[in-house]
Amino acid sequence: MVVPLIILGTLSLIGGWIGVPKALGGADHFEHFLAPVFQAYAPAEAATHAATETAPTEDEDRGLELALMGTSVGVAVIGFGAAWYLYYKRKDLPAKMAASAGSVYRLVLDKYRIDELYGAVIIQPLIWISTNVFWRGIDVGLIDRGVDEAAAGALDVSDGVRQMQSGNIRSYAGWVTAGAAVVIAFMVWRGLR
């Protein structure tokens, strides 16, 4: 675990060194690295800029930058300091703080129980709908059953057709006669037209 951290730390140092902002007197080499990508938008952007606002001055810019830098570094320092104090200097303090906070502590420990809420409101219903409505309901119950029923239906009709073959020769002759009658009647009708 330590080795990757060392590598990352070194790279951060190098990256920070290269990109020391102009506000602190360095020549920022990173700033315009991705600019070519947005060149297509640049004319449009420049137009909107000129139309809507005046470009901020260098000094105002600098002040804002320094303030932001100071804030982010400050927060990191406070966190570092608090951690050093609670977990290094006074190791007993965290447990006492937890005991006195009680249920609030447990709420925060449970991450405000958002995971459980999320699970109950979104995940469980989603899984239930997907399993029962989508999969079993529509896919298997509706579509697949439709296909299987159509197939079964075809086989049933086939069974029906099969009944025509009674094996009885007189019924066969009957079918032939019936067919012939229809054909003859039709042709006679055609002929009379």
Binding site: A40, F134, I138, D139, D144
Partner: protein, 517 residues
Amino acid sequence: MNFINENIVTIVTFLPLAGALLLLVFPRRARDLRYFALGISLVTLLASLHLPWHFQRGADGFQYEQNVSWITHPNIHYHVGVDGISLWLVVLTTFLMPLCVLVSWKSVNERVKEFFILMLVLETAMIGVFVALDLFLFYFFWEATLIPMALIIGMFGHGRRIYAAVKFFLYTMIASVFMLAAVLWLYAHVGSFDFLEIQRAIQQGAVPGFAGAAKWLFLGFFVAFAVKVPMFPLHTWLPDAHVEAPTAGSVLLAGVLLKMGTYGLLRFNVGLFPEQARANAGWIVALAIIGIIYGALVAMIQPNIKRLIAYTSVSHLGFVVLGIFSFTQIGMDGAVYQMLNHGVSTGALFMLLGMIYDRRHTYDIHEYGGLATPMPIYATFFTFIMLSSVGLPLLNGFVGEFMILSGAFLAKQIWGILAATGVIWSACYLLWMYQRVFQGPVTNPANASLRDLDAREQISLWPLAVAALVMGVAPMLWLHSISPSVTVALKQFEAATQASAPAMTHLSNAFMTVFGR
């Protein structure tokens, strides 16, 4: 050289068939058969690499064309050729084939000869579908893929293989006969089966009776392709076919056969009937988006891993259909690219599943758990391929999905928004599945002593993993040839429908600047 240039498409298409015929007379010693099949598929791959190597990027129309009169009455020609869209689909097919042979090395032990004959015949048919420029020839190869695939599923598959094979065959065949009727109608009224001739005739309005029949022709082609893609609600044959098919069968089914459907939609539905395509785009995209979301949600809760991945195909190819029917350059580019991506990543996923099936003979998620411990190499490959399927940037899936979503967004914002949720769902189902199968402690003692991947299995996975990475960081290698052909298709589409595509030059320029070097 000229001879090769003229005949390369025929060579690539029929080389596997020649191999299959040779296999017929081979003696039955299993090892020789496997090496021979591997050899033939590798030679076909090498031959097919000639196609992109000498492809002229940006040239109009089809290349490596070969047009020989086959039958005079009716007027059928053996007309083949590739353009940017079909070129890489052919290479995808020949690329996946040797890997399929490798994957089946140990898992197919009975009737090995029949298996490889069927695979090689299938390869010829699949390549033929992509290169055919004569509608009759296209239908010929389209139908020719049915029997080998059905036999592969039915003879070499698992428990309910007969049901799955018959379902696959009948579902697809019933849908394709409508395409046959449409093809025959076009022939009867144009006098030729040639794709380019028919396209020109339709554009010039020289087809008698077209106005009334166009809607039905469009639907006829559409039904056949929609079942193949597969689009909701005609998709239920796919999970059954995948679950019961042997590994190599699944890889080819997901990797190539499904692309035949999307390729057909692009080439024929949009290419021949642009006005109907635009008119019907609304409900087609609706079905595609339903497919994306529905497919993903149903995939999420599947207890059978193979069925899970099968449903993801429904979801991913919904993206492709969305891209095609967005009628934007970037959307259609992305759709073609995503076809290739899906072939690589889902093909690899099925190979991985096959490897675990070889060991445990089950696809049930509950049987697994904590597999990363006994099989770390396998877990790594799985992670890599899975992330490619999810669409993680740096891997191929991201490029395709991003382009499709851009196109969808440009076409209609709501399409883009709804489809984009699909990205979330795909992460859901894959990551959750991964967690249940690979992470945590080994819950089932049967998994504790599983053997990790051996050399052969790793060799079959490495090309796909490398492809996923390269396709993700250098997509221009492929888009260079795909994009101009899509531009041509889109121009013809716009000319026919006289609608202007939304302005997307900025976005695609930005994209090309970032990715194209």
